[in-house]
Symmetry: C2
Subunit: 350 residues, 2 copies
Amino acid sequence: NQTFELDSNPHTRLNVLTGEWVLVSPHRTKRPWQGKVEDVTPDNRPEYDAKCYLCPGNGRADGDSNPNYTESFVFNNDFAALLEDTPAGKMNEDDLLVANNQRGLCRVISFSPKHNLTLPEMSVEAITAVVNVWQDEFNNLAENNWIKYIQIFENKGEIMGCSNPHPHGQIWSQSDIPLEIVKETERQKTYYAIHRRSLLGDYLKLEQKKNERIIFENDHFAVLVPFWAVWPYETMIISKRHVNSIKLFTEAEKKSLAEAIKILTTKYDNLFETSFPYSAGMHQAPVNNGYYPEWHWHMHFYPPLLRSASVKKFMVGYEMLANPQRDITPEFAANRLKEMSTIHYKTSKA
Amino acid sequence: NQTFELDSNPHTRLNVLTGEWVLVSPHRTKRPWQGKVEDVTPDNRPEYDAKCYLCPGNGRADGDSNPNYTESFVFNNDFAALLEDTPAGKMNEDDLLVANNQRGLCRVISFSPKHNLTLPEMSVEAITAVVNVWQDEFNNLAENNWIKYIQIFENKGEIMGCSNPHPHGQIWSQSDIPLEIVKETERQKTYYAIHRRSLLGDYLKLEQKKNERIIFENDHFAVLVPFWAVWPYETMIISKRHVNSIKLFTEAEKKSLAEAIKILTTKYDNLFETSFPYSAGMHQAPVNNGYYPEWHWHMHFYPPLLRSASVKKFMVGYEMLANPQRDITPEFAANRLKEMSTIHYKTSKA
Ligand SMILES: O=P(O)(O)O[C@H]1O[C@H](CO)[C@@H](O)[C@H](O)[C@H]1O
Ligand SMILES: O=P(O)(O)O[C@H]1O[C@H](CO)[C@@H](O)[C@H](O)[C@H]1O
């Protein structure tokens, strides 16, 4: 009679932040791959591209020209999914056709004047400048009291729908609270009501005790593969201090966050010796909507690659219709990332 | 002062089946696309491929050989994500690390002996044979009383992670009820408790009255773009009779379903004159778990293409971290699909 083992038997794991389960199939990595392989975009972009709307001095779709910026640079998205001047309105027919207007503001942040410099290749100081912009933008957007939530994120790589290779991130802020934040608020609130402590704070302590999924720690942040990770090399950065938004980060914390981002993204690039694609973003408390003591700032990284620079995990049929599913275990992924060097492969080869 | 219009202002719409919202940005189609374009796989496969593990007579990974089948052919997935003999087991540390074993059976269905024949190119009779297999498989799997849910689906096209171009579908059945089914059960149950009628039945009646999103109807099924569609050309097939699973379909209904599938997938192929990729699958009541009078059988089609055979919608950063988002409206998509011919573009060109 066999005993049940997480590293070899199919099982489900609970995502304590959303209340949803992921199906884990540890034995399934043996599956041969005859399907789609991605083109690996050769990584030989110039430092400046005259046709790029993010490079310093160049023109943009709205007719403006970018300044000759030297650190990061922020502007309103010229093709924003959300607009500030959307008229108010609602529709409801028999509770079957239900719609509401949505107001919002979308911002774009160029991370660096250099067209070819991704986060892992930037210095901690330069990444700290990006963190400063994130904090300033968060604070400024929150001044609009109709804005209820601010989503700071980055799509990195063509495979993640990034429409311009110049390293940049986005901020979408809006008048309602989006789905993932509704879920995470509910779970954190329930936990806080029972324990009077932060859910993620307690989770982090347990992970520190176990030491099976933690990849990196500094004074203020821990980087780990969550127990319930869906994407093959999914990770989370969790702040050690229980704060509910980036607004409260000190200078020391911002520098530590920049360091954590640099180390994590360097390990990612080293894993398959490629500019590692992902969507990443911060989750934090809604704004202008009361008090959220339960909320604990964190940042998710959702990278699609599974086996190599060209073979990704497809979240398709079963996953779209039934339940998220993964093949390698979170512990396997954490080990791989732990053993990766913190020196970028391009530097060590140069 | 503007008034709020669904076809031009950003808004959210409620998915009545899941209780989740989608963000719609109708004005955003003007966005220029400088990002990733997909390779369009040339559609010139042979009728038989000696290296394909689905073609008649060929060998498979488990050592078996396929029979010389003439309609559809079903077997156990040689690289199944779920296994029947998973030992029982549970883990729970402080409600923070929570896992359960999961048993299951995964089946593969080759739709046709011909390596190059997709559903829209098959006859209604040949598709009816596939529907018969789906029904038989559903009934047989449900005989195992530890199985609680049976997911019948198809991943079509490389872009949807389909690892073998020979047209085929899959069935994953398992000992727990997966996420999407939990959500749809809850919403249908609540509606049924109040109205004593099926949620989807009432929704379909309202759509018939409006006639803005219906693409096709026959005696037993309607095909429409749901009001809350997330994917650009997402559709649903809804049975006119309120039955909770494929088990209850009559011979006439099975033939009508085959016709609806043929017409929908033909329109899809005609839209961008390409073999249109999607993940599609049926949603139906759980099995061996009590009585589900509220459940109404339906089939979802989630196709990723947005503008052409090579430009898809990316569900990335904002969508993964915050909320699903779409650019074109469901009404625009429904109109485009309505005007497509029901004659396959390859036939009409031949
Ligand atoms: O089973 P296949 O076709 O090899 O694999 C495909 O479908 C599965 C079920 O949707 C997914 O888990 C895989 O990521 C996908 O590549
Ligand atoms: O704004 P971009 O980079 O043009 O677009 C990208 O990110 C957006 C936000 O995640 C997505 O809605 C788009 O599908 C994606 O292509």
